[in-house]
Symmetry: C2
Subunit: 198 residues, 2 copies
């Protein structure tokens, strides 16, 4: 038998299905939620359902958007001739946080991963290629520095080169502030090979 | 400018207001939520608002409840003559998990804390005293082993004794599985003073 009310049990159970939220955390959150003012609970509840129902992909770059074009593609100040290719909207957000990149993006929503049966046609590559029909100066490949990300970067770079467009890959090396002794050998070798003359 | 859609920003902001959920976790949860099937998102959203709107306090013991009486007070098999006094519904739930306690509870929803201006009239003490008018054999005080919990226990025990009812306090000592060297001195002394003959 449940010690709590059915509503509470249901809420705890729903929260504990979220990633990284265990039974204890779900219980703590549930108690917090029922102690919140009703208008705040309503905001939370409607933000959840609203996000699910209203968010779609930008018809141009594939970023999350409330409308046809995402805020970045719709911004006349962004340089549409430079396209940074990323795997996910979160990667895009990470670069946006730097506030230094003024070009636009292309979100693949994945990476080529033959082991899991994800091929070039399963990511938004066709959409990228059709964007290259327009005026594009450079494609910057910013897929992750993982096996899948590198495979995807290689694949895309070949296609973009064939289209006669400049293609680059973000640098890989020791993170700023990184302590050499805590960094894996592959990264250390990458950093060595990618050394720049001072 | 926001990189994400307004809906996404709103969801992340709402989630990050929950305790223990930082910006990064909120972002991770938000992305997970929009990738969930719509019916699951609806369940989550309605569990949140449902819990807030429908949960009330059991009119007898103060536990969280969907109806007039909580499942424990409504259970004819529970021994209504033994009342365990706890500070919060979470403490109640902790004892329920043991599945060994067959009496009922009384939830104070707080503890006496003069430093924060919380006196006997700010917790559900009057309700406890009126329950003692009925047939009660024993009151077990299970408030926390903190200064406030102990103060509350002392205060209640005096009142219950005056009513001519047996009153007890849960034992305090070394936790089962606890390693002596990691336990604070106060607990060690408590365990020594509370030693039982074998």
């Amino acid at each position: 038998m449940d010690a709590y009310s059915g509503q509470m049990t249901r809420l705890i159970q729903q929260l504990s299905q979220l990633p990284g939220i265990g039974q204890k955390t779900a219980q703590r959150l549930a108690f917090y939620i029922i102690s919140m003012p009703e208008d705040r609970v309503e905001s939370l509840s409607s933000a959840i359902i609203g996000a699910k129902q209203k968010i779609r992909l930008c018809s141009c770059c594939g970023n999350l958007s409330d409308s046809e074009l995402c805020p970045i593609c719709a911004d006349p100040d962004r340089d549409k001739r430079t396209i940074m290719v990323v795997e996910t909207p979160r990667d895009l957000a990470a670069y946006e946080k730097t506030q230094k990149y003024t070009g636009v993006y292309h979100v693949l929503h994945g990476a080529i991963d033959p082991q899991r049966g994800i091929g070039p046609s399963d990511i938004r590559l066709k959409e990228l290629m059709s964007r290259l029909q327009g005026d594009v100066d450079e494609v910057i490949i910013a897929t992750n520095s993982t096996l899948e990300g590198e495979t995807t970067a290689m694949y895309i770079s070949r296609l973009v080169k064939q289209a006669g467009i400049k293609v680059s890959r973000i640098a890989s090396g020791v993170p700023v502030g990184g302590d050499l002794e805590n960094i894996d050998e592959v990264t250390l070798l990458r950093a060595l090979n990618g050394r720049v003359e001072l």
